[in-house]
Symmetry: C2
């Protein structure tokens, strides 16, 4: 048996492939001034031993020091949702959207772990709750005001004996500085090559409120996250703002922003069992201001800020996709409705033929068109109205590949000049209506196959 395996892997049956190196992305994690982070939130990232020790941070804590804190989350639509997904959803239901803390572990997804996995996730949530300053401790029968996220290997039990003491120890490392937020972002990482952390500010009346977010990828990324009800590497994202927002308005904003950010990205077309994006709002940045409701005139200011930071972090996830050498924006315009535009953008973004052509920097519009035409729509496409073009990122003129169904005589030198860039935009105009959708994807490289296909060592 051993000899059979050896034979298959012997050097006489191997071939060498020369691939582009994936670009280093370390520069995408830049220092952020300490004063830019939302007030009243403490964070940390520590190594507790879920991953091999010694090792990188594998446990992140996020704690609000002002209660009650509003919380909302969207969860994977996968039928095999992991224990932390179920627990976090239950917490939000039981606390009516009031949760003050989040714990995240990387290295083990606590997915397909049965009853023990559920008990473990509840234990994590309770342990974190009991470390939050200013909250009464909870018994085993009360809902903890803490959410849980896990990411990593599926089907392995959580090493709770290391996590629970780790949570207690992590409390002592909580802080508000860039270093604290940066460590927390590192603790989210699995196959990511850099931590993903961004901040922004927005005005509510006289108050300048702050918003921070963390996300991670970098494989099994094609989220469809929905609000509670129904939803490995895995998409995880967490956001904190010191604006005052009601739980209901928080859910509405998160749902809107998720659709236009994390639910519009794909790395490999695979939906994880653990995808979760959570959002906390504690009002510490606008003392005395009542909680924003959906019908408040300034609700959209908050929603737009949230959509912006979520798009930024979603694009970072794609840019750091397994084996990715390019960030590709797919912009489908002229659809009858948003759903059609989104479905076509999603199909183009998951096409292996489109993604390998992008890796090869080849203006192969035939593959884009075949993907476009394969989507069942509410009303059939009219091939004579469809146009495809490449949009240069330097603001120069678009390069038409297909115009209203007629192939253009493509300037291959110009096409190559656009496609050699790290950032690429494909625009498909359907010519049927006024709705549009954007999607972000990456290319498909040798490195992707190596990361996911090399036999586990």
């Amino acid at each position: 048996m051993a000899s059979r395996i050896f034979k298959r892997w012997s050097s006489s049956t191997t071939t060498t492939f020369i691939g582009k190196q994936t670009p280093s992305k370390a520069h995408l994690h830049q220092p952020i001034p300490d004063f830019a982070f939302p007030r009243g939130f403490l964070v940390s990232g520590t190594h507790v031993g879920v991953k091999k020790s010694p090792g990188p941070p594998d446990l992140a804590l996020l704690v609000s020091s002002k209660h009650p804190t509003s919380a909302a989350a969207v969860f994977t639509a996968n039928a095999f949702r992991a224990a932390p997904v179920t627990v976090s959803e239950d917490v939000l239901a039981q606390t009516k959207g009031r949760a003050s803390a989040l714990v995240v572990n990387s290295g083990c997804a606590n997915a397909v772990t049965g009853a023990q996995g559920l008990a473990d996730a509840w234990s994590m949530a309770r342990a974190v709750h009991n470390q939050v300053p200013g909250l009464p401790t909870v018994s085993d029968s009360e809902p903890p005001a803490a959410l849980v996220m896990s990411t990593g290997v599926i089907g392995q039990p959580l090493p709770l004996a290391r996590i629970l003491p780790g949570i207690a120890a992590a409390r002592k490392t909580l802080g508000e500085s860039f270093e604290h937020w940066s460590s927390a972002a590192r603790a989210f990482m699995t196959t990511d090559t850099f931590p993903k952390l961004r901040v922004r500010t927005f005005k509510l009346g006289d108050h300048e409120c702050r918003l921070a977010g963390i996300s991670k990828g970098a494989g099994m990324i094609h989220p469809r996250m929905v609000p509670p009800g129904p939803l490995h590497a895995t998409l995880l994202a967490a956001f904190a703002t010191d604006a005052p927002v009601s739980p209901r308005a928080l859910t509405a904003a998160l749902t809107y922003a998720s659709a236009r950010s994390f639910n519009s990205i794909s790395i490999d077309g695979d939906m994880s069992t653990n995808d979760t994006a959570a959002l906390f709002a504690n009002g510490a940045g606008a003392p005395g201001m009542p909680e924003l409701q959906e019908n408040h005139p300034e609700f959209n200011v908050f929603r737009n800020a949230l959509t912006g930071i979520m798009q930024e972090l979603a694009q970072l996830v794609v840019r750091d996709g397994e084996g990715a050498t390019k960030l590709v924006t797919v912009d489908v315009q002229g659809a009858l409705n948003y759903e059609d535009a989104h479905a076509i953008a999603s199909r183009i973004s998951t096409s292996a033929l489109v993604k390998t052509a992008l890796y090869g920097e080849d203006a192969n519009w035939g593959r884009i068109l075949a993907a476009t035409g394969s989507v069942p729509l509410s009303k059939a496409l009219d091939p004579t109205r469809v146009s495809v073009s490449l949009i240069p990122r330097d603001g120069s003129a678009p390069l038409s590949l297909l115009t209203r169904g007629e192939p253009e005589k493509v300037d291959e030198v110009r096409a190559k000049e656009i496609l050699v860039e790290e950032d690429i935009e494909i625009r498909v105009e359907l010519g049927l209506g006024k709705e549009s959708a954007k999607y972000w994807t990456c290319d498909f490289s040798y490195e992707y196959v190596r990361i996911n296909g090399d036999y586990r060592s």
Copy 2:
């Protein structure tokens, strides 16, 4: 600009990947006795210059010498269906399912070629019709009794000036031997590495009828072909039988068999603009027997023979998939209905993570499960009822990976022993009902990326 391109491709920014060699598949094309081919059909494969000259056969002819001949076809559901698809569908509608010939060219798909493309496809059909012995010539206003298929590059005009004289010349090379059928099968090929030709026999009453089929791949393969009404490399397949079958029964049998063969395979998840499977029946093998109708007791004998040969040829397409080193059967059982089972089998078969794990010969059931759980179904899955196992092809005991939602302690040595084989079967049991569906897919390799990602030279 040239220097920028050079910089990107200079050796200082390349990485080397060591991959398994894709197995040689030449042995899958074996001699077939001349007497095994259906009576009353003449075929040829010639080089006419669609591909570079001198070169391999790029034009196939199939002609029935007995009229009328019943014909049926299923066509791609892609909105950007190519001109030959539209023309073949129109021919069948106008002739009410009576067509005696087929012409196939490889090297140019005649897709996204506008009005000229349509005119070219009609010209091909008429030219072929007028070469069929025993048929009156058709004028430009009459429907020709010939179908057309094209496969190759999208968006390039058909070189009709080489094809039309080629059709006239090809007539002189028509014949009934294995060499003739083999040349025809070669003329179908694009990125295929071997011709795909199979025969079988079946009994109708006292008559032993014969059935032959040709298919090709090897990329942009995820067909969903449907009967007339609404449907690059491309899936093309052609079948001929000397059984007598009515056009209506022929369509019914082809639709049934397509669902269980070509519409249940995926190489890269991409649906082509040209997918077509056609079937001709001339009755030459059962003189005096009336045409089979759907309600005839022996209709199922024919339908089963057809399903068998179509599954065999569909599997050959997958086995020859671009970069494929494995043929993987995905068998989803215990579904509430066929559609649910088929949707899950399709999702598993297109998962980049599952396919790279198969290339890595890694028993990563978590990826299979995540793919299974991501499919919207008529009724939600119950994770505690789902089992996943590997079925060895040598008849030895299945290897359970997950049993009713509980991960098994997997014998990795045994798993490797199964996964190292070229033929692999994954079984997913849903535990909800009695319906099942099979799908065939291949692994995802470095070679796949090379074939589709290397810059056009």
